[in-house]
C-alpha cells in the first residue's frame, strides 16, 4: 500500500531516472542500429522500411514506458487475464485469420494487423511465473502440480504449430520450459522429455509439412538444392563471409543490394549487416546483445519475488534464444525456421512484444521491494 501512495502524487508515469539507465540506453542503441540497417538494406533509403521501423520503435518505447510505470501488483494480477486474452486471439487467428505465404498467422484488427503468436511469448512467461510463484519449492516437481503449467504451454504451442509456424511454436515452448527450469522442476523431467523428444522425431517427421521437411533436409545439406531451398542459406553465408574483417560499407553489400539475399529486411537482416559492417561490426553487435542479456540476468538475481525472478530471467532467456537461433540460422548453423532478430528485423508485433517484455523487466526492477501475495 505504501508503494501505491508514492505514485499518486506524480500521476501514472514514473520519472525516467527510476528506470534502469544502462538497459534503457542499450535498447535505444539497438533500436537505432535496426533503423540504420534497414536504411542500408533499401540501398540507403528511409523508405520503405527504415522510417516505419523508427515509428514502431517510438511506439514500442511508449508501450515500454507505460508497462515500466505499471505497478508490480497490477502486472501480477493481470498475468492470467492477459494470457487468456491472447489465447482467445490465437483461437481467433485460427478462425478468422489472414493467410500470408501459406500460413495463417495474422489477425486483422481493422486498424492494424497483429500476430498474436508473438504476444503469447510474454503472456505465457508471466502466467507461468505467476503459477510457479504460488507453488512451494518442495512441491514443484510433483506431477499433479505440473498439469496446469503443461496445459498453459501446450495449448498455445499447439495452436501456433497448427498455423503452421514451427519456429515460433518451438521458441514459445522453449520460453515456457525455461520457467519450469528456473522454478526448480526436477531435471529428471527435462531428461525424460529430451529422451521422449528424440524418440518422437520419426513421428514428428511424419507430420511435418513438405516445406518444413525440406528446410531441415536443406539445412543438413544446403548444396542439395542450391537454387531452391538451399539458396537462402548459401547466399546468406556468402553475404556474411564476403564482408570480411571490415565489411563493404553501408549500403554497399552486393549480396543484399542485388537481391541475391532473400528476406534481407526480416529474418536474414544480419547477413546484410555482417556483409556491410564486417567482422568488427558483427562482434560489436554481439557484444551489445550480450550486454543487454548480462544486465537482465543481473536484475533477475536481484529479484526478491519468485514471480519477478522467473519473469525477468525467462524474458531474458527468450530474448537470447531469438538472437542465438536467428544468428545460427543465417550463418548456416541451424535450419531456416523463420525467427526474427530482436529489435533489428523489420516486423511490428515481434518488436512490440520484445519491448513490452523489456517494460516488464524495468517495472520489476523498479519495484523490487513491493509486496506480492504468496
Amino acid at each position: 500500500m505504501s508503494q501505491f501512495s508514492t505514485q499518486t502524487g506524480r500521476g501514472y508515469f514514473v520519472p525516467l531516472e527510476e528506470l534502469n539507465r544502462p538497459l534503457l540506453m542499450c535498447l535505444v542503441l539497438l533500436g537505432l542500429i535496426g533503423v540504420l540497417v534497414l536504411y542500408s538494406v533499401s540501398g540507403g533509403d528511409m523508405s520503405p522500411w527504415a522510417w516505419r521501423h523508427g515509428v514502431r520503435l517510438i511506439a514500442g518505447f511508449g508501450l515500454m514506458y507505460v508497462i515500466a510505470s505499471a505497478e508490480l501488483r497490477t502486472i501480477y494480477n493481470y498475468a492470467y487475464i492477459f494470457f487468456i486474452a491472447v489465447l482467445f486471439l490465437l483461437i481467433g487467428v485460427e478462425l478468422f485469420g489472414t493467410k500470408t505465404m501459406g500460413a495463417q498467422r495474422w489477425l486483422d484488427l481493422y486498424f492494424f494487423r497483429v500476430q498474436p503468436s508473438e504476444f503469447m511469448r510474454l503472456a505465457l512467461i508471466l502466467a507461468l511465473a505467476r503459477y510457479f510463484h504460488s507453488v512451494h519449492h518442495a512441491d514443484v516437481s510433483q506431477p499433479i502440480m505440473l498439469i496446469v503449467p503443461a496445459a498453459l504451454v501446450g495449448m498455445p504451442a499447439l495452436l501456433i504449430l497448427n498455423q503452421p509456424d514451427l519456429g515460433t511454436s518451438i521458441m514459445l515452448a522453449a520460453a515456457g520450459l525455461s520457467v519450469f527450469w528456473l522454478a526448480g522442476v526436477s531435471w529428471r523431467y527435462f531428461l525424460g522429455g529430451g529422451i521422449a523428444l528424440i524418440a518422437a522425431i520419426p513421428i514428428v517427421w511424419q507430420n511435418l509439412l513438405e516445406y518444413q521437411k525440406k528446410r531441415v533436409l536443406v539445412f543438413l545439406d544446403p548444396e542439395r538444392d542450391p537454387l531452391g531451398a538451399g539458396y537462402h542459406i548459401i547466399q546468406s553465408k556468402i553475404g556474411i563471409g564476403s564482408g570480411g574483417l571490415f565489411g563493404k560499407g553501408l549500403a554497399q553489400g552486393t549480396q543484399s543490394q542485388l537481391n541475391f539475399l532473400p528476406e534481407r529486411h526480416t529474418d536474414f537482416i544480419f547477413s546484410n549487416f555482417a556483409e556491410e559492417m564486417g567482422f568488427v561490426g558483427s562482434i560489436a553487435l554481439l557484444i551489445l546483445f550480450a550486454a543487454i542479456l548480462v544486465l537482465i540476468f543481473r536484475i533477475a538475481v536481484e529479484m526478491r519475488h519468485p514471480f519477478c525472478r522467473y519473469s525477468v530471467a525467462a524474458i531474458g532467456f527468450s530474448f537470447s534464444i531469438y538472437v542465438i537461433v536467428n544468428l545460427a540460422m543465417v550463418m548456416g548453423l541451424a535450419p531456416v525456421v523463420g525467427v526474427p532478430l530482436p529489435f533489428i528485423s523489420y516486423g511490428g508485433t515481434s518488436l512490440l512484444t520484445f519491448m513490452a517484455g523489456m517494460g516488464v523487466i524495468l517495472a520489476m526492477h523498479r519495484q523490487n521491494i513491493a509486496d506480492l501475495p504468496h
Partner: protein, 619 residues
C-alpha cells in the same frame, strides 16, 4: 520469508546453468563469425563476386577482305537481334506473347521458337528474332523493361558486294555450330568461315575477343558495366585476286560450267579464280533456307563446288608438253626429228586415231605441239614409257595437291604401273601408255594443277605454290629440274600453237603492246567413240547431250617473251578446246593486259627483251 530463502540457492544454480548455456552458444556464434568472415572471407568474397559479375565475351569485328587493289570483297554490317535466355524469362509464355505483340511476329515464328527453346538447354541464350529492321529494333529496346529474359543484341552481318563473282575464292561465313566448335575449338564471335578464304583464314579474320564485366542482380538483369576490354578486331586480308577480273571472267563464263584461273607465274598469286556457275554468298551469311540449299546442291552444274580445286578432268592435249619434256630429257628424240602422222596409229592390232582424220604428215616437236598432233605423242609416249611420263608429270605437280590456301583441294590421279596394279590388280597395257601420251586414260588433274604446270613451263621450271593472299617476301617454289633448252622448245611450240596460222589456237591469238599469248588447247573426250560411229562419222558435240560433250581446255601464259601470268581454262562439256576454252582465255588475258594495272606494259627497253625464239618465228 522462508519462501525467498529456501529456493534462493536453487534458483541461482539453475539460473547460472541457463546463463552458461547461452554464453556457450554465443561463443559458438563468435567462432562461426570468425570462420565465415576471417578464415573463409576470401572464398566467400570470390563467391559474392561470381554472383555479382557476369563476364560476357564481346565479339570483335571480323576483318574485311580486299582485293589486290583495295576494293572490298567482304564487309561487315550490323544485324539486329533479340536474344532470349529461357531460364531467365520466368513466365516464358508471357515473354513470348510480349515479343509477338511488340514485333508483330507470326504464330508460326512463335511455334518454331518454342520448339527451339525446348531443344536447347534453358540457360543458353538463343536468337529469338534475327535481322530486325531499325524500327522494330528500337521498339523492342523501348519495351525491354517489360519483358523478362530478353536482351537486345547487335551482331555482325557479313556482306559480299561482289555477290557470286568471287563466291568460291572468298567463301562465306555461317552462324557457328557445335560442329564448328569441335572442329576448330573456341571461336571468336558468332560466325565462322565456312568456305574459301573466310574459312582458311578464320583465325586472322576473327581477331581477339573483348571481355565485358557487368554487374547483375539475382534475376540476371544487368545493373551496370564494371569494366570492359574491347576486342582486337580481326586482320584485314589483302587478296591477290582482282575484283575487276573476277567480275569480267564471271560474265565471260556466263552459261558455262567450269573454271578460269589466272596466276602470277613468279610468286603464285592468284589474280583470278572463278568457278561457274557460282552462288551468292550473301544468301549463306544471312542463313540460307533449306529449299534454296537443296536446289543448289542438286543442280546439274554443281554451283557449290569449287571446280578450280575440286574439279578433276583428264588434261588432254595440255599434257603433251610433259610427254615431250620426258622424251627430250631421256634423249629418246631430238626436237627436230620428224614423225609421220597418217591419222592412224596401230599398236598390237589396236588402232589409235589422230584428231585430224587425214593426218598431219611429218611433224617435229614444235609442229606437233602447234598442231596438237596426236600420232606424234602416241609414238613419243611409247618410247618414253608410262613410268617416266608419270615421273615427269609428278615433277610438274600432277598427282598431289598444289597446296593452294583453300581447303578441300583434290589431287587428281597420276597413273603408273604400280598404281595400276594396286588399284586394278592387273598389269599396265601398252595401249594405255599410248593414250596417256595425249593426256587421256586414267589421268586426272584439277584446273589448279594445270595452271601451276603451265606457270612452271613459263617461268623456267619452278613449281610455285598458288596463293589467294597477297605475297610479300619469300615465295614458295620447288624446282622441276628440267633442262632450259628443252623448255625453250616447249615454249616455242606453245607460242606457235597460238600465234602461227595453222596453230590450234590461232583464232585466239592476241597482240597488245607487243605482248602475245602462248598456250595449248585441250579437248577431252568423256565418252567412248565406237568403231561403227567412226565409220559413220563422229557425232558433233552440238548434237550430243550436254553431259556427253567433250571438255574444253586451254592453258597458256602472257606475255610470250617474259611470262608473267599463266592461265588455265576448263569448260565442262564445252566442246573443242580451240572453240570454247581458248577464246575465253584470250578474252581474259586481253582484259588483264588492257587494264594496265598489273604493270605488264613495261616497255621492253633493256635490249634483252623480246624473246629471240618468238620473234624469229613470228616473222
Amino acid at each position: 520469508m522462508s519462501l525467498f530463502d529456501s529456493d534462493d540457492k536453487a534458483f541461482s544454480r539453475r539460473h547460472l546453468i541457463l546463463v552458461a548455456a547461452q554464453g556457450g552458444l554465443f561463443a559458438i556464434l563468435v567462432g562461426r563469425l570468425q570462420y565465415l568472415q576471417v578464415s573463409q572471407s576470401e572464398t566467400f568474397s570470390t563467391l559474392a563476386e561470381a554472383n555479382r559479375v557476369n563476364i560476357n565475351e564481346l565479339s570483335s569485328e571480323r576483318g574485311r577482305i580486299r582485293d589486290r587493289f583495295g576494293e572490298i570483297l567482304a564487309d561487315n554490317d550490323q544485324r539486329f537481334q533479340v536474344v532470349l535466355v529461357p531460364e531467365q524469362a520466368g513466365d516464358l509464355n508471357a515473354t513470348l506473347a510480349g515479343l509477338q505483340d511488340i514485333l508483330g511476329l507470326s504464330d508460326r515464328h512463335i511455334r518454331d521458337l518454342k520448339r527451339r527453346i525446348q531443344r536447347a538447354p534453358k540457360f543458353k541464350p538463343i536468337v529469338a528474332v534475327d535481322d530486325l529492321t531499325w524500327n522494330d529494333f528500337s521498339r523492342f529496346n523501348l519495351n525491354i523493361p517489360f519483358l523478362r529474359g530478353v536482351e537486345a543484341k547487335v551482331a555482325d552481318k557479313r556482306i559480299y558486294p561482289q555477290k557470286q563473282a568471287s563466291a568460291h575464292a572468298i567463301g562465306y561465313v555461317g552462324t557457328k555450330t557445335r560442329g564448328d566448335l569441335q572442329r576448330i575449338g573456341n571461336i571468336v564471335g558468332d560466325t565462322v568461315g565456312r568456305s574459301g578464304v573466310e574459312r582458311e583464314y578464320q583465325e586472322l579474320l576473327s581477331g581477339e575477343p573483348g571481355v565485358r564485366h557487368v554487374e547483375v542482380n539475382a534475376f540476371g538483369r544487368t545493373i551496370r558495366e564494371l569494366r570492359s576490354r574491347p576486342g582486337q578486331p580481326g586482320d584485314e586480308l589483302h587478296m591477290a585476286i582482282c575484283a575487276d577480273m573476277q567480275k569480267y571472267v564471271t560474265g565471260r563464263m556466263e552459261g558455262h560450267s567450269g573454271s578460269v584461273i589466272v596466276m602470277d607465274v613468279e610468286n603464285g598469286e592468284l589474280i583470278t579464280l572463278v568457278s561457274t556457275p557460282g552462288f551468292d554468298p550473301n544468301e549463306f551469311s544471312r542463313g540460307i533456307d533449306e529449299r534454296r540449299w537443296e536446289t543448289l546442291l542438286s543442280h546439274e552444274k554443281k554451283p557449290l563446288m569449287n571446280k578450280a580445286i575440286r574439279g578433276q578432268y583428264a588434261p588432254g592435249s595440255t599434257f603433251k608438253m610433259l610427254v615431250a619434256l620426258a622424251a627430250l630429257e631421256d634423249e629418246l628424240i631430238e626436237a627436230d626429228e620428224e614423225i609421220m602422222c597418217t591419222g592412224k596409229y596401230e599398236l598390237g592390232g589396236e588402232l589409235f586415231h589422230c584428231w585430224l582424220h587425214e593426218g598431219h604428215g611429218a611433224m617435229n616437236m614444235t609442229q606437233a605441239l602447234e598442231r596438237s598432233c596426236d600420232t606424234y605423242f602416241y609414238e613419243l609416249a611409247l618410247r618414253v614409257g608410262i613410268d617416266r611420263i608419270s615421273e615427269m608429270a609428278r615433277r610438274f605437280g600432277f598427282g598431289s595437291i598444289t597446296g593452294v590456301d583453300l581447303s578441300g583441294e583434290k589431287s587428281g590421279i597420276l597413273p603408273n604401273r604400280d598404281w595400276k596394279r594396286a588399284n586394278y590388280d592387273v598389269g599396265w597395257r601398252p595401249g594405255e601408255t599410248v593414250i596417256t601420251g595425249i593426256g587421256q586414260g586414267y589421268l586426272l588433274s584439277t584446273p589448279m594443277q594445270l595452271v601451276v604446270m603451265t606457270a612452271a613451263l613459263a617461268n623456267g621450271g619452278r613449281l610455285v605454290t598458288p596463293r589467294l593472299l597477297r605475297q610479300n617476301g619469300a615465295v614458295e617454289s620447288r624446282p622441276t629440274n628440267t633442262d632450259a633448252e628443252a623448255l625453250k622448245v616447249i615454249q616455242l611450240g606453245l607460242y606457235n600453237a597460238v600465234n602461227r596460222p595453222g596453230g590450234t589456237a590461232y583464232a585466239s591469238s592476241l597482240l597488245i603492246d607487243g605482248q602475245r599469248m602462248s598456250g595449248k588447247t585441250g579437248t577431252v573426250q568423256v565418252r567412248r567413240i565406237s568403231q561403227d560411229e567412226r565409220k559413220a562419222g563422229v557425232i558433233p558435240n552440238s548434237e550430243l547431250d550436254w553431259h556427253l560433250r567433250d571438255h574444253s581446255l586451254f592453258v597458256g601464259y602472257v606475255p610470250h617473251d617474259k611470262p608473267r601470268f599463266a592461265i588455265s581454262v576448263v569448260v565442262e562439256h564445252g566442246g573443242g578446246g580451240a572453240q570454247v576454252a581458248a577464246p575465253i582465255a584470250r578474252d581474259t588475258m586481253v582484259h588483264l593486259l588492257k587494264s594496265q594495272r598489273f604493270g605488264t606494259k613495261a616497255a621492253p627497253d633493256d635490249g634483252k627483251s623480246g624473246d629471240p625464239v618468238a620473234h624469229e618465228q613470228v616473222s
